[in-house]
């Protein structure tokens, strides 16, 4: 082999693509209540502040992303595995610029976000349940004690009044029983609190990683 034929030095290898959990910077202003439960593989990321209130439960592989605005998780919010809270992906200026929160997400007290659900809504009211695989589009305002049933899709910028059940292919009805009986609402919140207690017993807590 002559010197002229030596191959060009190998190109620098492309840096391995980062894992989803480390792709985003750790939020500069992350406030986590010490009573929250953050499981081992849960991820909180994004350039905007994230506030995690008391008794919040983040299951393994739950994702909270403040990519386009701050995220506020109210007291006793449960985010199940593979669920995502926060506006995802690239934002087309108009769709998010229109709303006041600027891509932020406010999740009310006692909200339950089940497996694989994606919540990009501007606001989710107290006691609402988003079942497995449900999607709430960006800019939505979801009322109190709503149920977004499994795999239902709520299109962006929709307003959903209190006690609504979204089911089937975009159908809606009002849960009048729950609406008229305050004791049932209280019961629901109580049961949710008990559920959180059980989670605290069963799931190893890794909240220390996200504190301070």
């Amino acid at each position: 082999m002559s010197a002229t034929l030596t191959p060009a030095p190998p190109k620098p290898r492309p840096t391995p693509s980062k894992r989803a959990s480390t792709a985003l910077p750790r939020p500069p202003a992350l406030t986590v209540d010490p009573s929250a439960l953050i499981a081992q593989h849960a991820a909180l990321a994004g350039p905007h502040p994230i506030l995690v209130a008391a008794n919040v439960v983040l299951h393994p592989h739950a994702r909270i992303s403040s990519l386009h605005g701050k995220v506020l998780l109210g007291e006793g919010v449960c985010v199940a595995e593979r669920a995502v809270v926060g506006v995802q992906g690239a934002v087309v200026g108009a769709s998010v610029g229109g709303m006041g929160a600027g891509g932020g997400v406010v999740v009310g007290n006692g909200v339950c976000i089940e497996t694989g659900a994606v919540v990009e809504a501007g606001e989710v009211g107290e006691g609402t349940v988003v079942e497995a695989g449900g999607r709430v589009g960006r800019g939505c305002v979801v009322g109190k004690f709503c149920t977004i049933t499994a795999a239902s899709v709520v299109p962006p910028d929709t307003e959903i009044p209190d006690f609504t059940v979204v089911y089937g292919m975009g159908l809606r009805r009002v849960d009048t029983t729950l609406k008229e009986r305050v004791e049932l609402q209280e019961m629901r919140l109580l049961m949710h609190a008990k559920q959180i207690e059980v989670f605290k017993k069963l799931i190893p807590n890794n909240v220390g990683k996200w504190m301070g």
Partner: protein, 219 residues
Amino acid sequence: MSRPTTRRPAPKGEYIETDSGNKVSRRAAITGTANITLGGRTVIQSDVHLRGDLHPTRAMPSSTSSSKPEAPPTSISIGRCTVISTGCVIKPPSRVSRGAVHYYPMKIGDNVFVGPGSTISAISISSHVHIGENVVIQPFAIVKENVKILSNTIIPSHMVIPSGSVVAGRPARVVGEVGEGWGVSAGGSSSGGLGSVGGGAGAPWVEGGDLRELVRAIK
């Protein structure tokens, strides 16, 4: 060289194979492994979440009387030759009983195929069940034997699916029966039942049939 040269390092494949022939992907997210039993020759593909940590907390009547060390409670038990495809979440169901939340052990039978992206919280799934893609089975549903669940179905909680039915829809309804050919390989019979369409002509396995060949093919 302190290490004996005859010992070769185990090949680093996608799956970890256990003594009983279970194949568990290295990229599966499994919590609470002590509470999960796999029957043997069962495949857990990548990105599957098995929530074994959500185990029953209630003291069993048998364990309270005996003084022997307590066995870990079972939360998920899966039978033989069952395939759990990519992106599934298997989560035991919970409910309120006597004023407290309890998790209940869930059981999945033999030769069950769970399609990609499904979320399973059923209390029991019997044998020879075929579950399509992106199916959601809500807590405490019971799926009996020889059932076919079409893709994107949502099975509401507490639904009992009788054996031999085909279910689909949101919420799920029984839309038909699997018929005679269910689980019989296409080569063996030419019956026109829904089941015989299974893995396509010439495939070594059919929906609802013996999945041993499929399990063997996954590497």
